[in-house]
């Protein structure tokens, strides 16, 4: 656990104090950090915590268009919204569960591919060679583009009759009949490609930064011991990148699981059922069908799920680090 790793620091005596030099009129040192944290805490409350609490409150109300003007009039629904949402035999729960599995698959594939691309690109660009900075810049381009503009461009690429992708596929003779990319089963893969394209430069950036901390002597020593590329990757690079990877994978997971922009811009308000990932599903359940209580219940359930996954993930990865 975290506490054990920090314990030695706490035990260590803090900076040597020179007796009698501490002026009495100042704030006690123990309170200063709290004072300095105050603005951040206030903003955090305002921006994150209060809306979250309001969201939880909404989730126990029967809040539809009849009450949005005055929430206090909304009848208390207790756990009814949760019951409808999480009853996986009912129509609402069934759709949510379907959307949940789609999202799990989407997130796993997207995070895995982003991380792999990022790792290999960073490793290959580790040593200087002509054109390295050009490639680095090129790889980071998707991350620098405005999200909406970039995804709208993808929708043009994916159009069946006039899209670039189908043009390429038919010109090269790979397909006879132009496939659909924005509807039907292919839409899942279309979404995945855009997601990876958009997100992998972040993995690349993080891993590139992480590699700066791997001392070159370690590679030299490994090379003298006769370790090849894969061996060095497995036994030097990856262990040294573990702290970076731990955070990177978590952040990518949370971003991808919650991704709203990509499906929303790609498909509009209602995604095809094969690519109905959870954020857009919740949006449709609350904003478009005006059932805000139920949408909030879904949001809260999603929040709890992500909290749980994060906690388990941190627990496992930290424990493994201790054992390492």
């Amino acid at each position: 656990m975290v506490t054990t790793t920090t314990a030695p620091e706490e035990a260590r005596p803090s900076t040597p104090r020179k007796a009698g030099r501490k002026p009495k009129s100042r704030l006690p040192r123990s309170k200063l950090p709290y004072l300095l944290l105050l603005p951040a805490v206030a903003l955090e409350l305002l921006v994150h915590v209060i809306p979250m609490v309001v969201g939880v409150w909404m989730s126990v109300l029967e809040l539809t268009q009849f009450q949005i003007r005055n929430w206090s009039e909304a009848p208390f629904a207790g756990l009814d919204n949760y019951r409808a949402t999480l009853d996986f035999n009912g129509p609402v729960g069934e759709e949510l569960l379907h959307s949940f599995w789609v999202t799990v698959l989407y997130t796993t594939l997207s995070v895995g591919l982003c991380w792999l691309f990022g790792l290999f690109a960073a490793v290959f660009l580790q040593r200087p060679f002509p054109g390295r900075s050009l490639l680095r810049t090129l790889f980071l381009t998707p991350y620098a583009l405005p999200v909406y503009a970039a995804i709208i461009t993808w929708t043009f690429i994916y159009q069946r009759d006039t899209g670039l992708l189908n043009e390429l596929l038919t010109v090269t003779g790979l397909v006879d009949e132009r496939p659909f990319w924005l509807i039907g089963p292919n839409s899942f893969w279309a979404l995945l490609v855009v997601s990876v394209w958009k997100q992998w430069p972040f993995a690349f950036l993080c891993i590139m930064a992480g590699l700066q901390n791997v001392p070159t002597e370690m590679y030299e020593a490994a090379a003298i011991d006769g370790a090849g590329f894969w061996r060095r990757l497995k036994d030097v690079t990856l262990p040294m990148l573990r702290p970076v990877n731990q955070v990177l994978v978590l952040v990518l997971f949370l971003w991808t699981f919650n991704d709203f922009n990509t499906p929303f811009v790609l498909f509009g308000g209602s995604a095809p059922e094969q690519a109905d990932i959870i954020s857009i599903h919740i949006y449709r359940s609350s904003f478009i069908t005006w059932n805000f209580g139920q949408g909030s219940a879904m949001s809260v359930a999603l929040l709890l799920f992500l909290l749980l996954v994060t906690a388990v993930y941190l627990l496992i990865t930290n424990r493994r680090r201790e054992h390492a």
Partner: protein, 421 residues
């Protein structure tokens, strides 16, 4: 999380009057070919209003994709514009929020009286038996647009009046990479509008008298299947239309890729895409050759835009004065002429501006064979759920899956179950 996004959309524009000069804030909907076009259209009119009354109107043209969310945010926060345009199909849903000034007899009297408005249009301004939540501003209906040259090239002399004829004609016109009909398969609202009109023709209702959804009745299944079959069975619609949601069907119609289009007031959009008004004809939307049992002679929803006043306005009188101005004879002629829509007031129907072929057809449909979408609070759910079910059916049809009655019924039952929540 949700609350954050709701308030984030909120608008801080100051509603109501300041100290001295009166100011109103107005959200206009996007009626012309672009937001800019609308700004240029409205600016001189609002200047006229300021000249006449001394009330300054700050306005913004809100795109359709944002309008409903922004209206909800304004209703939730009690802040925002004084006067807004709303899609008339949202009337009953928005009425249920209680956020708008009801046009009871006194209020509607202040803007010229109930009798001033086209009855069909006023019927689409709120639930029956309650004072309207808005008054109609621009009126529209669906019509069949057809490419005159494609028709004459194929030796077709008259537009189809029945669906059977439309299919025959469509098959003749579907060749050499061109298609008989274009439709907007991935647009849920557009789909649901057709579901309504076809439903009426097949004797179906989407809600019963108690307001309960009745989506999967045999009549509705048959009606929806008829519409999907243009692609699935008759093959007169390009399968690509299954992914159309950004008015690509108008583009296909305007550049000759498709010979027919079912649309509301497509003239302006076609013109913006380079199609001259004499290149296309306009006819009423067809009917089945023999009416199914209980089928009604309805071939369009009452489409249109209403204008409403938020209760939170600080100056209701000024807001109503503005509504009166926008529905005045002069403005109705000016604005509807520019947008290609129809006036919502009876007094100017015979104006020379509305005597073109397109407007005459739309007006006659509106007067004789149009019905409002169900005016129930859950109407917007109907549009989303049924429209999305049809989007999925089109996706299946496009990929060659057979669209059976059971498949349609299953989708509609599924949509109906989600209403119950």
């Amino acid at each position: 999380m949700l609350a954050a996004s709701v308030t984030a959309c909120g608008d801080d524009s100051d509603g109501g009057s300041g100290g001295g000069a009166k100011t109103l804030t107005y959200w206009a909907s996007n009626q012309g070919a672009s937001i800019d076009f609308d700004k240029k259209t409205l600016e001189p009119e609002l200047a006229k209003f300021e000249q006449q009354t001394g009330i300054k109107v700050n306005f913004e043209v809100v795109p359709w994709s944002d309008l409903l969310n922004r209206l909800l945010a304004a209703a939730t926060s009690g802040k925002g514009p004084d006067v807004v345009n709303i899609g008339n199909t949202w009337s009953a849903s928005l009425q249920a929020t209680g956020a708008f000034v009801p046009f009871d007899d006194a209020t509607i009297g202040a803007v010229g009286g109930k009798d001033r408005f086209v009855p069909a249009a006023l019927a689409a301004a709120g639930a029956p038996g309650q004072p309207p939540t808005a008054v109609p501003l621009y009126s529209l209906s669906y019509a069949l647009y057809y490419n005159k040259k494609a028709f004459s090239d194929a030796g077709i002399t008259a537009p189809p009046t029945t669906w059977e004829e439309l299919v025959t004609v469509g098959k003749k016109l579907t060749k050499d990479g061109k298609w008989g009909l274009a439709l907007e398969g991935a647009n849920p609202s557009e789909n649901s509008h057709h579901a309504f009109a076809f439903g009426q023709q097949w004797g179906g209702e989407w809600f019963d008298a108690a307001g309960k959804p009745t989506f999967d009745t045999p009549q509705n299944v048959a009606a929806v299947k008829r519409y999907i079959d243009f692609m699935a069975v008759d093959k007169i619609v390009n399968p690509s239309n299954a992914e159309y949601a950004q008015n690509q069907s108008i583009t296909d119609f305007a550049n000759g890729k498709a010979a027919m289009l079912l649309w509301q007031a497509a003239g302006n959009a076609a013109k913006a895409q380079g199609m001259a008004p004499d290149a296309y004809g306009v006819a009423p939307v067809p009917f089945p050759a023999t009416a199914p049992a209980g089928g009604k002679k309805i071939n369009s929803m009452v489409a249109g835009i209403n204008i409403a006043v938020f209760k939170h306005t600080k100056d209701k009188d000024a807001a109503l004065q503005f509504v009166k101005f926008m529905t005045s004879d002069a403005e109705q002629v000016q604005l509807n002429k520019t947008y290609g829509s129809l006036p919502s007031v009876t007094t100017v129907a015979s104006d020379a501006a509305f005597q073109a072929e397109e407007q005459k057809v739309l007006a006659s449909v509106l007067a004789t064979s149009a019905a409002p979408l169900p005016q129930v609070a859950e109407e917007s759910k109907f549009e989303t759920l049924v429209g999305t079910a049809m989007k999925e059916l089109f996706a299946d049809a496009a990929s060659g899956k057979p669209i059976t009655e059971d498949a349609v019924k299953e989708k509609l039952s599924n949509a109906q179950q989600q209403m119950g929540s």
